[in-house]
Symmetry: C2
Subunit: 355 residues, 2 copies
């Protein structure tokens, strides 16, 4: 099998995404990244590796006259040609305040609503390791501090309503601690390319499949800081270190793993959940992401007597327990510890017998 | 008073450096940074702000034929002209292994021995905020991870013998817990320009005093990564953010403040000192810097019930207690807590009366 397909499949497994009996929504702009992901999922479906309902979702921001509509036409054509299910949305984005932020909010709202209406619990975004490196540099130049430098996560809850970066409560509405099986899990935003794919890989994969992706003309506009970072700063940094993209993405990953000092996170408020023997899933689901990570770290630190050996993937595994519908499941931690989900609670057990 | 002098004086106070009855050794290469610091100390002495014995110390690495000797001549001339005490050392640096590292070790050994022989407990190095920003980028490009990105500290113990980055034990030889007053504190390497001075400031100050500093021709050699960072990368980054030097130095500072995850520090070893009510000064003095910081953070976290409001300056204040000869002193922490030094131990007290 093609290396690109193999990598998608490996990451799919690592992210604990469904292989059957589920619907996933794939955001598609028409660019190489999102088209390559959609094509890869379709290939994996054809090869019987995935048995999923895959819905492409395109949002027309109507921000670039002509171009925006051409992108929509391209995605419609691609979907028609290949027989993909397609959802299309559009909006007149408000130019009050931050235009980019408004566009992003409108797009995520559309993706969330599309997923909700189709019963899909996963929205896929095709951000690559290049996007992660560019985001790191953007935040570094802005002086965002350690938390901003942590960059994007490969999976996070996609909340309904305002504050798309945080976990909202509407997804967990009507849920009780004891009737966890009946609860509706929040919709997750998942980025299956973020940890490994370079932009060159997505372009090559499209080319291999003979698909001519769209090229956003804004990608050439040096008025945008992100474009100058991509076109001018990164090539210079590559002269210092040919693997600078991977290096920056990895630094971002390491920073995401760092426990945050209290002052840096959540404005110095008291932790929302104290250290107890068991953590309530419904309470955890209400926490914004940094607070959730901090709570889990503190709780594991307490029970394990330290954070030794604990990596981001372990915290992410516990996070999946929190949002996964399947009950009674475990997340294994290094050195013999296990987080067990049962009865709407997380508990910690050390299954290693002390000698 | 000149802004430069005022800034040196303010930082001198912040770093808890002595104002009288002490000798300090100032490392002087002959470049603008080290010459400006030496001149500033001399000015402050003339203005009766400092009453110290100041010894300039120049180390001839003999690495640049002719130039190295010219630098030595320049510093000798400057010292003679201005009546500075001067210590000069030199060595034939081994070219086995990392030349730069060998040169650095030889220089620090000379500075340490000079201070030790004169009874000085402070060695001053004239690194600026520019050096900090360059170090940050150097480590970022190398992929050093969060700890390397933390950069230089404004004060750290200068150990004798091998491992100049760590705290050695020879400086604390013969010390007992209960006879702390008699103990010899380790020699500290202090950087009074690191937090505020830009290279431009040091050059301007030399010019104001009519002193023509030496210019190291290696600073123009683009074969060195640090020179390319200074000459090519930083000017490009300045186009993105005119205050990039300050921004990077501040990011470095914030990262230095972050609690390190156990995996990142000290190779996952057990903390060398467990959480107890009191910490032994002699044990703390044996710890390498990252371990010391981690120990202090864990201890304060335990006693305060969190790290809220705690900043790097507070940890540094506790660190000064550890290395300062004066006994019975306190370091005030935010929210009413105090670290008290007494009888060779640190203890934590909350002096705020609970209502």
């Amino acid at each position: 099998m093609d290396k690109f397909l193999l990598n998608v499949l490996t990451e799919w497994r690592r992210l604990d995404l469904p292989f059957e009996n589920a619907a996933v929504v794939a955001a598609v702009s028409g660019g190489a990244d999102s088209v390559s992901l959609l094509l890869a999922l379709d290939e994996l479906k054809k090869r019987k590796k995935l048995n999923l309902r895959i819905i492409a979702a395109h949002f027309n921001h109507r921000l670039r006259e002509g171009d925006s509509d051409s992108d929509e036409q391209f995605v419609k054509h691609l979907a028609g040609e290949r027989g993909f299910e397609l959802a299309v949305g559009s909006a007149n984005i408000s130019r009050d305040g931050n235009l980019e932020q408004n566009a992003r909010n409108a797009r995520y709202e559309f993706l969330h609503n599309t997923a909700a209406s189709l019963g899909a619990r996963t929205v896929l975004a095709a951000h690559t390791i290049n996007d992660q490196a560019e985001t790191f540099l953007l935040n570094l130049i802005r002086g965002s501090g350690p938390q901003g430098l942590g960059g994007m996560r490969s999976a996070r809850p996609l909340a309904a309503g305002k504050g798309w970066e945080n976990i909202g409560t509407s997804g967990t509405e009507g849920q009780t601690d004891t009737e966890e099986e009946k609860s509706v899990s929040p919709i997750m935003l998942v980025r299956p390319l973020l940890n490994w794919a370079k932009r060159r890989d997505t372009e090559n994969f499209c080319r291999e499949l003979g698909v001519v992706y769209r090229y956003d003309t804004m990608n050439e506009n040096l008025a945008f800081t992100r474009v100058r970072i991509r076109k001018i700063l990164l090539p210079l940094l590559e002269e210092f270190n040919p693997r600078i993209i991977e290096t920056l993405a990895n630094t971002s990953r390491l920073l995401r793993m760092q426990p945050q000092s209290d002052g840096a996170a959540a404005g110095g408020d008291e932790p929302l959940i104290g250290i107890t023997d068991e953590l309530s899933l419904s309470e955890l689901r209400q926490l914004p992401a940094p607070e959730l990570y901090r709570t889990l770290r503190g709780w594991l630190d307490h029970h394990r007597g330290g954070l030794r050996g604990l990596e981001l993937k372990h915290i992410e595994a516990v996070e999946r327990l929190i949002y996964s519908k399947k009950s009674g499941r475990n997340a294994e931690l290094p050195n013999g510890g296990t987080v067990v989900k049962s009865g709407g609670k997380l508990s910690y057990r050390n299954l290693k017998v002390e000698k």
